[in-house]
Chain length 159, copies 2
Amino acid sequence: MDDAVKKEALRLFTYGLYAVSVRAGERRNAFTANWLSQVSFDPPLVALSVDNTAASLELIREARRFVINVYGAEQRELAGRLGKTLSRSPDKLEGIALGETASGQPFLSETLGWVEVAIEQELPAGDSTLFLGRVVDAGVQRHGEEPLTMRAAGFRHAG
Amino acid sequence: MDDAVKKEALRLFTYGLYAVSVRAGERRNAFTANWLSQVSFDPPLVALSVDNTAASLELIREARRFVINVYGAEQRELAGRLGKTLSRSPDKLEGIALGETASGQPFLSETLGWVEVAIEQELPAGDSTLFLGRVVDAGVQRHGEEPLTMRAAGFRHAG
């Protein structure tokens, strides 16, 4: 397999851009993610892949939950900001309006909407960890607006 | 959780549209899918969710492989055609140009490109089955063209 061809083929895949937010005890974080998909209607299940070097990995494991927030088409800058690592950008949540789900997980009040996921399974997946979980709560904050996509943002995270 | 809100939130997710093609022995099929994502760079891993009622599920299990073909923006009609079940549309592959990977799996010659995935793990995921596999072969047939998305096609498969 030609590595350049593999990269080019994988970059043809279409992705949205999301903020994954999580709280464990007093610690909370949010980071930009795109490797995720719904995987079942009934029950509603979602899979999310998280880089093994991500600061949020331990928070997600501890919380056993996370929230997927859908960026609006105009939130490219926010997606870039939350795409920085917590160590390089410790104040990255400052000034971002957060709400709280019934279970106490943070969501971003100014995105299009969000789903809260309760983790049912965790799988090693190469350089990442795949979480499979059930949608247990949801909110829609802005109706009928376009979500931000990887392609529109000009971001790259595949290949 | 309000079911209508959950559906609306999940429909904010962004998806591409793909033909998943597979051969097991003399039987082959291709069907339109969107619940998939790359989940690791190194090694390159992909996750794909397949409805438990899909005719191709047994083929995928037998082959232990499948190919993800990326539809081009203009291939909405082909996506709709391959989205029909094999039982309702037994001749749906007729007239579709197919190539063959080194391992003998079929790919669609007129899509943008494809990756062949060797299955490493299979997980029950509600009404579907989640396959986690490694990209073992890839091809790009049309360079620099836009892929078809769920949103552009006006298809619905989430919520």
